[in-house]
Symmetry: C2
Subunit: 476 residues, 2 copies
């Protein structure tokens, strides 16, 4: 449905901000971006005056009748966020973790919740509301863990397709007795058969994978027997699927992996010897990897999802992201609901910066600090590369697709009256700020209230009351 | 004005949550709290059914005609937050710090901004909007740093009094050449005279100090000459004023203090030898204090403001709060705008938990972790003790005053439709949560949208569109 919905040729006029490299953020105050009927960026013009839209149109044959969406005020267009790791099924546990760390958290909070999605109406309620949440935070692409249940997993894919959110949707494989008897795959055969069923279904509803794709999802090494890991790896290979799993999140978990897989040299080696490290593999966390493990992952071209809010909340550790970037690893951000306490990638941009500062405090080495620009890169182009969409999304380049958010910042009037507080969200602009300062205010004090519209492939997939287009869009 | 505004005798009916000790949070599902015409809590009843309001009234003579404000749905009453350290004058810099740490941050961002408050219209705009922000986050008491300017400082006190927010308002003293020539007190005499003028003004507008009080504010040791510290200490003593300053925030700062005060044994010793450590002194940060320094502060009964968001944002360090609590120090939370990036104490409750977890990761000692309960205590009763209001506010006890917030949590309907996302703020309640889980969801995923009404001394000082009382209040 979403994939085929027709959209109007549109020129988005106003400031835009995006990463041009890991360390550089382009802030173009006077942009005009043409998006065609397929949601593809046809042109990106800079230094365009409001009055110059006619010139833009005449320079671009065939755009005379295009719709124009103008961004007024303190806002800007920003690429949609990519969430490279989250558990949609744990949405109702957001904010709950008490005093637990990873292994007891799974037993206390996670498995009971996930198991309840054997009920399709429960899954409908949870997934529908979670997709609303992630879209509202500007997340245009999401790598989702569902549960072991095929019907609920397929439903999540249906919802993403209908709502127009790009998604990798994974049925969770877990057959070992780490998981409780009430919530695990009965056998290796069940793991494979049910994963295959979900892959087939997702490919049937979006054959080209334009919006939703399947992803093979062995939960993590302790959840799967060696046989299961081998079988699921074979399935991924046969179906040419993405793969997602967890790695090296917590020291207790690492010890458990060593105990369960005594012949393996390391946690990474477990996956490597089961042929699970491919260029289409997303490894979440990667907090405590050794340099040798990182070299193996780099050599296999597997990708890393950094989940800073989660790693802080359940006291897993500080992943050395700056080091891993220097080594050449491909890294994006993940919210990791509900180990992470917030479904927003913007919150995780901040948390990535905080974690890197805590690492600097621990090590005394300021070189570990991530800059704002770097964290925003991870949230967009970095994430796009992690999910294999680096050619399609992550920045405003010609031939990429229009996955974008319209950011609106509040303005404080001359009397400092409280209107902005009530109506315009958490960012206060006084008017004297430079453009880099306005962007930094959004990064460090903004939230979903500042994301007033969200597009995926040119389709409007979320808006708030503050968004006035395209009703107010001018067709010049 | 605020102090004398008459209010209706009111019974607040519904769940309430507050700290009863550092480690214990009381969650009373069926509360009824009677607040008299002076904003003082006359009774606190528990296990009251909705139908039992008449019984409550008859048990409490004179309350027959009291107004009733009922809290329906997933919400609860919670004590107003106490912000024990923030710079109102730095509000426009919220979210800006780039790559700086303390000392260059002061020169780059802070001094130029503060100096602009020599203009009263500028101050009006900044202070009016900042008080709106802090009230919207449920902050009912705030220890404010203003600037060196007497008119602007007095204006901040006027605004707090008019809006009904309890405040300690401090004109900043700084006469050393650490501060730029364009922004410092010309002489020790200027420091004293202008501080005295502000104290006198604030006491003239609120003679009993029921809402606003002055606070003597030597910025921090490097900003003041020894003569100035002595003179300002004498002023505090003569006027029986509170004192606030910064201590041991950053290692570069500590080295600078040692260089500027070579005869002092420590940073703490600088303040101690200038008689600035009193039971009415608030010391912000306290990140790197030695055990001896902490003993001195404890012996002087001075108080600590922990500013975790700030300490992370400008990479100052992790204050060992659990250790300091064990030692018996009195501690509250501070937002430290704009070193801190968020005017919300709830955000700092979370950040206090995160900082304590990073400390656990650094030290390998899980005993450094703060629990949710402990962080909420710091935000309320702890903060009240820091600002000398422990008898008046911080919890729902008879004879305390009604400084409270009404918390509303969103609910996910059966279809999981997106209404809650749009209208009810960031917390999703599915209906199966226990009360402790609901409170934890608020703590870890809530924001100002969940604070739908705020009272100080029984006066409604902030509300959002979701607050339906007292229009819907029933006078039974």
């Amino acid at each position: 449905m979403a994939a085929s919905a027709s959209i109007s040729k549109t020129i988005y006029v106003g400031p835009f901000v995006h990463s041009t490299s890991l360390t550089d953020l382009e802030i173009e105050e006077k942009g005009a971006i043409g998006v065609d009927e397929n949601g593809v960026i046809a042109f990106v013009e800079r230094n365009v005056s409001q009055a110059g839209i006619e010139d833009v149109k005449s320079r671009n044959p065939g755009w005379q009748d295009a719709q124009v969406i103008k961004l007024e005020g303190n806002g800007f267009f920003f690429p949609g966020f990519i969430d490279t790791h989250t558990h949609a099924s744990q949405h109702p546990n957001t904010g709950l973790f008490g005093k637990t760390t990873l292994l007891d958290w799974l037993q206390t909070y996670t498995f009971p919740m996930e198991s309840s999605l054997s009920s399709v109406p429960t899954a409908q309620r949870i997934y529908q509301s979670f997709v609303s949440r992630t879209l509202s935070h500007g997340t245009t692409t999401c790598a989702y863990y569902a549960t072991i249940h095929v019907p609920a997993t397929n439903l999540l894919a249906d919802i993403c397709l209908k709502r127009g959110q790009r998604a990798l949707v994974g049925r969770v494989c877990m057959n070992s007795d780490l998981s409780p008897e009430y919530y695990r795959d009965e056998s290796v055969e069940t793991s494979v058969r049910n994963s295959q069923a979900s892959i087939d279904y997702i490919r049937s509803i979006d054959p080209k994978g334009e919006i939703v794709k399947p992803i093979v999802t062995p939960r993590f090494a302790p959840s799967c027997t060696s046989d299961c890991l081998s079988a699921i790896s074979k399935l991924a290979q046969e179906t040419n699927s993405h793969i997602q799993t967890h790695i090296s999140e917590n020291k207790g978990e690492i010890a458990l992996v060593q105990e369960l897989f005594p012949k393996s040299k390391s946690y990474t080696d477990v996956y490597d010897t089961h042929d699970l490290l491919t260029p289409k593999t997303i490894l979440a966390h990667a907090v405590h990897l050794s340099p040798e493990e990182r070299q193996t992952i780099l050599a296999r071209k597997s990708k890393i999802s950094h989940c800073p809010a989660s790693n802080t909340a359940i006291t897993s550790g500080c992943a050395p992201i700056r080091t891993m970037l220097n080594e050449g690893l491909t890294i994006g951000l993940g919210t990791d609901i509900s180990g992470g306490f917030h479904p927003s990638i913007l919150e995780n941009v901040r948390q990535a910066v905080w974690v890197s500062r805590h690492l600097a405090l621990q090590t005394g080495d300021d070189a570990t600090k991530l800059s704002t620009e770097e964290a925003l890169y991870l949230a967009t182009r970095g994430g796009a590369a992690v999910v294999g969409l680096e050619e399609q999304v992550g920045g405003f380049d010609v031939e990429k697709e229009w996955d974008a958010q319209m950011i609106h910042l509040g303005s404080v009037d001359e009397e400092g009256s409280s209107d902005a507080v009530v109506h315009e969200g958490p960012v206060d602009v006084f008017g004297w700020e430079s453009w880099p300062d306005k962007v930094e205010k959004w990064v460090y004090s903004g939230d979903d209230r500042n994301t007033i519209a969200v597009w995926v492939r040119g389709r409007l997939v979320h808006k708030t009351a503050l968004y006035s287009g395209p009703k107010d869009a001018t067709t010049l």
